[in-house]
């Protein structure tokens, strides 16, 4: 979609580092960051579940902060560094948060899962010993319709423990 004409003004060239790799693309100014990640870079693990920034399925790490990538234009990430769900397991080895989700049955359909994991990725890197209540507050902006959250909180606590 990046090359499509008439796409809301003059195209912009951006350079971003995503999962350790640097990309330069020319994109329409109105392209959302989530569409850039999914459609231009082909990283489909970041999902779209709403159009009102409620669900958090699109959460990625931008310059060290968890953001909802559906609320940003792609050009706003120019010069920035992005981490997506595809970038957190090293050499095919699952990240401790991914492991903990698996062990604790914290996912059912899995649609919300990358968003939760990326949000917790930032949260747990800054909060080494969170309380359950703090975890709940941290993930309030991510919705899950399948699990009822109990196991997601459990997984987050287990991951916090593992990550020490």
């Amino acid at each position: 979609m990046s090359q499509a004409p008439g796409n809301g003004g003059e195209a912009i060239t951006i350079t971003v580092k995503v999962n350790g790799k640097t990309y330069t693309h020319t994109i329409p100014p109105r392209m959302l960051l989530v569409h850039y990640i999914r459609e231009v870079l082909g990283l489909k693990g970041t999902h779209i579940g709403c159009d009102t920034s409620n669900c958090g399925a699109c959460t990625v790490i931008l310059n060290g902060k968890a953001v909802k990538s559906c609320t940003l234009f792609a050009f706003m990430a120019d010069g920035g560094e992005i981490l997506t769900i595809e970038g957190i397991s090293e050499d095919g080895k699952l990240h401790p948060i991914q492991e903990a989700f698996w062990e604790n049955h914290a996912l059912q359909c899995g649609f919300c899962t990358p968003g939760f994991i990326m949000n917790l990725y930032e949260f747990l890197s800054k909060n080494k010993k969170p309380s359950e209540e703090e975890v709940r507050r941290a993930i309030e902006g991510n919705l899950c319709r399948c699990t009822g959250y109990v196991n997601i909180v459990r997984a987050a606590m287990a991951a916090a423990e593992k990550m020490g």
Binding site: M1, A4, P5, G8, N54, C109, C146, G148, Y149, V153
Partner: protein
């Protein structure tokens, strides 16, 4: 055959074989499908709930650069047949023909090179409507002179039926006490985190359709049946589905229009719904109200029930049977032998009603449980004692209820007594009383339910044991996140005596398995699992024949255990399944399993809540459940289903509601307006207890998918009522939102200080 329960997998809380790709972001949901040359479709939807379409002008939209086609009903009229329903009503066209009947009904579709352009062009389609008076309230829809929604129906009450047993007049005339109330479960939306979507590709011969659906086989059949010029071959693929909860059972207009576009335009086409669009374009659930009377003796014997159940079917009566299920399960777990229930299905100018987790059972169970609590309060009886005194007893099983449902098995009173013990109901109630004495608004509520699973005609399975020892299982079931593949693999690993790593499970592809039914009504592990077992038995039967030949003994001489045949009288004659598979080039079996009749899970749930005085907000402090799910193939998954369902039920009681304005516009179009619960709303933990009364399925499964959504509303409603006991407030409907409770608290505060 040896018991499938003696292996190491069945019954173990294994982590799921599905998860690794989901965790790595490598799943393939509908929006992840990209085909070369793919176009994007956007639907233009009616801003009116009821209107005549005077004219449609697509010229501006068509002229926009990047737009490939703009179609209206006229362009597809000869190509797709409309839906005709089983009850009197006008047909539903995939794109509205000359009239729209709900806000959001699709009228035109724009196809463009990218979704942004398609959305731009959709804004340029100009449609002239002549608005008609809408009717939004089903009671008003019943009035004489109400706007008529379907010309072919003589009234908006398109479905009417009644059921009865015994003599209800006699019961009510004998009664010492009659309690009566009006109750409702308001309109809700399933809100799976992934909205719906469709992708289609036509290569000149085969049409391939991907749809975020629970029913790929239905969709394939609908294409073959409704396309006037169907392709020679249709393959429907269900990709990973991001939650469904019943709302992805129906075949929708977009499921047919997008494939037709792909055929007409000769290029792949994708449509992925926005959330806002999903709110109007995906069926809503519940929206059933009831007026109910119970007749009882002074000492608490329920003599009879009289009820009128009214369902708001929305604009098209595709799922008119929903209020009917609510009516027929209305006696719940109780032995009530005199009853009369009248069911009405009424059309209004709203999004069509459809199945949502529980589909009729949550409504019926909410109604009867609320009525039994009301009766207990009226009689001054302990609600548990009242329930025990009226329950169907185990020796009455199988038991045909007043309105024709046949409960298969179970000890209801025994289960309730066990729940009261396990949950420590006495201690909890005492604690709540004391806390209320200190001014906290806390309450404990208990509910008992019966529910139905294993419906639908059959399920299919195709199992192959490869010479290499790998096992491939293809099922007609179509799970959408529940984890059934892991359960199926557990069954197979134990029956074949192999490691679970050797097993691969596939589903959701009409190209892999020709006939199947799908995942809904808590049937997947029950009926789908039954099919997998039948197929495995078939393989073992074939293997036995081969083994007999190879070991030169009679078939009946052979004993099968954990992947090996042993000759009974000469135990040194042994051959493994693997040897047989290797020698024969593999073994396979394709089966259909039809359980013949449904089974009925049952159990008790308990909620502990606190109402915040200042805000009216309800917090669920604790939650406990005892459910008879039959054999739990994987308790981890069973628990996941219960907890997930409970939190959906919690949302339904405390927040969720689809709201229409009086003139028929949908006001709740975002997840926050609508009120999907967050992590802060969910209980910290759910104490899950399981009970395993066997059923007639080969693996004794009863089913679990909908239990939480059925049991939680009446349990939480009662807990709120108890918390507000000093105010004598009754919970008559779902939801009871914080603002309503706040209002009640303020009112009561005025009358006397709480």
């Amino acid at each position: 055959m040896e018991s499938i329960f003696s292996g190491r997998y069945v019954g173990a809380p294994l982590r799921r074989i599905e998860d690794e790709r989901l965790l790595k972001g490598r799943a393939r949901f509908i929006d992840d499908i990209s085909l070369s040359g793919m176009l994007h479709a956007v639907f233009v939807r009616s801003p009116y709930p009821h209107a005549i379409i005077k004219s449609v002008d697509v010229s501006d939209a068509s002229r926009l650069r990047g737009v490939v086609a703009v179609l209206t009903y006229r362009d597809i009229a000869g190509s797709i047949k409309p839906w005709e329903f089983e009850v009197p009503s006008d047909p539903m066209y995939p794109l509205a023909r000359d009239k729209v009947r709900y806000y959001g009904e699709p009228v035109a579709v724009v196809v463009a090179e990218d979704p942004y352009l398609a959305a731009d062009a959709a804004e340029l389609v100009s449609i002239e409507y002549e608005p008609l008076e809408p009717v939004v309230d089903p009671l008003e829809a019943l009035e004489k002179g109400a706007p008529r929604i379907h010309e072919r129906a003589s009234s908006n009450a398109v479905y009417k039926k009644s059921y009865k047993c015994g003599s209800v007049e006699d019961a009510f005339s004998r009664a010492h006490v009659v309690v009566e109330d009006e109750l409702s479960m308001e309109r809700v939306y399933a809100a799976p985190m992934e909205p719906r979507g469709v992708v289609a590709h036509y290569d000149g011969e085969q049409l391939t359709v991907w749809s975020s659906t629970q029913t790929p086989f239905d969709l394939r059949d609908a294409i073959l049946e409704k396309f006037s010029d169907p392709p020679s071959s249709v393959r429907v693929i269900q990709p990973d589905v991001g939650g469904a909860f019943g709302a992805k059972i129906p075949t929708y207009p977009e499921d047919l229009v997008v494939p037709l576009l792909a055929m007409k335009l000769g290029r792949p086409v994708k449509w992925y719904s926005s959330r806002r669009e999903d709110f109007v374009a995906t069926v809503h659930g519940r929206d059933v109200r009831a007026r109910i009377s119970l007749a009882a003796t002074r000492d608490g014997k329920i003599l009879g029930i009289r009820a009128r159940i009214l369902g708001d079917l929305g604009a098209y009566p595709s799922d008119y049977w929903l209020p009917d299920v609510a009516a027929r399960i209305l006696t719940g777990a109780y032995n009530i032998r005199n009853g009369f229930v009248e069911v009405l299905g009424v059309c209004t100018n709203k999004t069509p009603l459809g199945p949502y987790r529980g589909a009729g059972r949550p409504e019926g169970i909410f109604f009867i449980e609320r009525m039994v609590d009301l009766l207990a309060d009226e009689l001054g009886m302990d609600p548990v004692e009242l329930r025990l005194a009226n329950m169907v007893r185990p020796e009455q099983m199988p038991y045909k209820n007043c309105f024709g449902f046949r409960y298969d098995s179970g000890d209801y009173p025994g289960t309730l007594r066990k729940a009261v013990d396990l949950f420590k109901v006495k201690d909890l109630s005492k604690w709540a009383r004391e806390e209320r004495g200190r001014g906290r608004l806390v309450g404990v509520g208990l509910a008992f339910y019966v529910e139905i699973t294993s419906g639908g005609p059959f399920e299919s399975a195709h199992v192959k044991l490869e010479p290499s020892g790998r096992v491939s299982i293809i099922v007609g079931s179509t799970p959408t996140g529940q984890g059934d593949a892991t359960g199926f693999a557990q069954l197979a690993a134990d029956i074949l005596g192999t490691s679970i790593d050797k097993i691969e499970v596939s589903w959701g592809d009409t190209g892999l398995i020709g006939e199947g039914v799908g995942t809904f009504g808590s049937r997947t592990m029950a009926v789908g699992g039954g099919a997998v077992i039948k197929a495995l038995e078939e393989i073992i039967k074939k293997a036995r024949k081969e083994a007999a030949k190879m070991l030169r003994v009679g078939e009946e001489e052979l004993e099968y255990r954990k992947g090996r045949f042993v000759a009974r009288r000469s135990p040194d004659r042994i051959i493994t399944l693997l040897d047989i598979a290797a020698a024969t080039g593999g073994l396979e079996a394709k089966v259909h399993y039809d359980p013949g009749r449904p089974v009925y899970p049952f159990g008790a749930h308990l909620a502990i809540v606190e109402v915040e005085k200042d805000t009216g907000r309800v917090r669920v402090l604790g939650y406990k459940s005892l459910d008879d799910v039959g054999k739990a193939i994987n308790p981890l998954l069973v628990e996941g289903q219960i907890v997930g369902g409970v939190v959906q039920g919690l949302g339904e009681v405390l927040y969720e509601q689809i709201v229409y304005s009086r003139d028929g516009a949908l006001l709740t179009q975002s997840l926050s307006d609508y009120g999907v619960p967050t992590a802060l709303d969910a209980p910290a933990r759910v104490e899950v207890h399981l009970q395993e009364t066997p059923t007639h399925h080969p693996h004794k499964v009863r089913g679990v998918g909908e239990i939480g959504a059925i049991a939680a509303p009446p349990a939480i409603a009662r807990a709120i009522e108890e918390a507000l006991k000093p105010l004598k407030i009754r919970v008559r409907k779902t939801p009871v939102k914080p603002e309503e409770i706040h209002r009640m608290l303020q009112q009561a505060g005025k009358e006397d200080d709480v």
